[in-house]
């Protein structure tokens, strides 16, 4: 249900970085989304068509990179994915554990076109 404001936020970030780089078109938007982030890819994709229409990002492809959730046992350092009914360490049984991956939620990069004559692949001039 909350993917609309999230999609708007993705668009705002992408457009800001694209404009700062003088881009005329956004081709791809690379999103990194941890498994524990409560975001549904299909829903973001659906809203994208609505919010990006009429912008230089309207034809952009959303590229989702999902990061699986991972828990690290603080006793035996075993790393494992969370199980549905018990989050404790399956190796030593400890409950002293820490979530170490799966909460990521950011725009990693965008691919853009510019009308400029200079051609520089991998140029990193628009870091905010």
């Amino acid at each position: 249900m909350h993917e609309l404001p999230i999609t708007e936020s993705i668009l705002e970030i992408a457009l800001r970085h694209a404009h700062a780089a003088g881009a005329t078109r956004i081709r791809n938007i690379y999103l990194v989304i941890g498994q524990l982030s409560t975001v549904v890819d299909e829903s973001v994709q659906f809203y994208w068509g609505l919010v990006a229409e009429g912008t230089i990002a309207e034809d952009a492809q959303l590229q989702f990179r999902r990061i699986p959730a991972e828990i690290e046992c603080q006793q035996c350092k075993h790393r494992y994915p969370p199980l549905a009914d018990d989050l404790g360490c399956p190796s030593c049984g400890s409950a002293t554990v820490r979530v170490v991956a799966g909460e990521e939620f950011f725009v990693e990069a965008i691919d853009v076109d510019s009308d400029d004559v200079t051609e520089e692949i991998g140029h990193a001039g628009a870091e905010a």
Partner: protein, 241 residues
């Protein structure tokens, strides 16, 4: 012609910036703010009523109620003796920093010490949207079942305190407190927890004491220093970016 621009920007950054503005505004007025989150029916409004009644002789309270529709909750808070503002989200399943900003405009912050924000009843979406409050509190309740930490890890991970309401029902429903607390401890080690019953008022004093102490502590901090250290106030945020 074509290039890849590294961005690495948190998707919630716009909301987070606004949440910081809300925080600065609360601090400037020396208001301590709580964000109460829970599933529908866990007892958010009942706990707010008890908090108003229990603390209104010591603290001036304001309540901001988020709901999809109706002003029933704000009316209950007003009846209990607080200043209340209702936010109808019109279908949105959570409050965000923009909505809170609008509600703060309607609240006379000079006239209150403690602001309680009642989020929309939902264990998923509110965890993703920071508001700018000082502490987030999750209200679990016994009839919901003991598996909720495992099913909603994002919510349990991000809060600063946990209320377990309706403990008077423990003899009547299958709720394994050890299993529940094990999940909580894994997701949020050392989380301060208040088992209580709004109906029998068992355990309520500890909760009221915590809220009072937090409010007074914050006021001391606010009056002794202009710069309050920012603490993340909500759950599920990317920490790696």
């Amino acid at each position: 012609m074509s290039e890849r621009i590294p961005v690495v920007e948190k998707i919630m950054s716009a909301n987070d910036r606004l949440a910081q503005e809300n925080r600065a505004r609360l601090d400037a007025n020396e208001v301590f703010a709580l964000n109460l989150m829970a599933s529908p029916g866990a007892g958010k409004t009942s706990l707010i009523e008890h908090t108003i009644r229990g603390l209104s002789t010591q603290l001036r309270l304001g309540v901001i109620d988020g709901d999809v529709a109706t002003s029933i909750d704000a009316d209950r808070a007003t009846a209990a003796g607080a200043r209340a503002v209702q936010i109808n989200t019109g279908g949105e399943c959570h409050l965000d920093a923009v909505m809170l900003q609008g509600a703060l405009d309607e609240m006379d912050l000079q006239q209150i010490d403690l602001l309680i924000v009642e989020n929309v009843g939902n264990l998923i979406c509110p965890a993703s949207f920071k508001l700018g409050v000082h502490k987030s509190v999750l209200i679990a309740s016994v009839p919901e079942g003991d598996d909720k930490p495992y099913k909603y890890p994002g919510m349990y991970r991000g809060v600063d305190a946990l209320v377990i309401n309706k403990i008077d029902l423990l003899p009547y429903v299958p709720f394994d407190m050890d299993y529940f607390k094990r999940g909580v401890e894994i997701l949020n080690p050392g989380l301060v927890t208040f088992p209580l019953s709004c109906r029998t008022e068992e355990g309520l004093d500890e909760w009221l004491k915590w809220v009072t102490e937090m409010t007074k502590y914050h006021r001391q901090q606010a009056s002794s220093s202009d710069a309050i250290p920012q603490k993340e106030d909500s759950a599920g945020e990317a920490k790696s970016s």
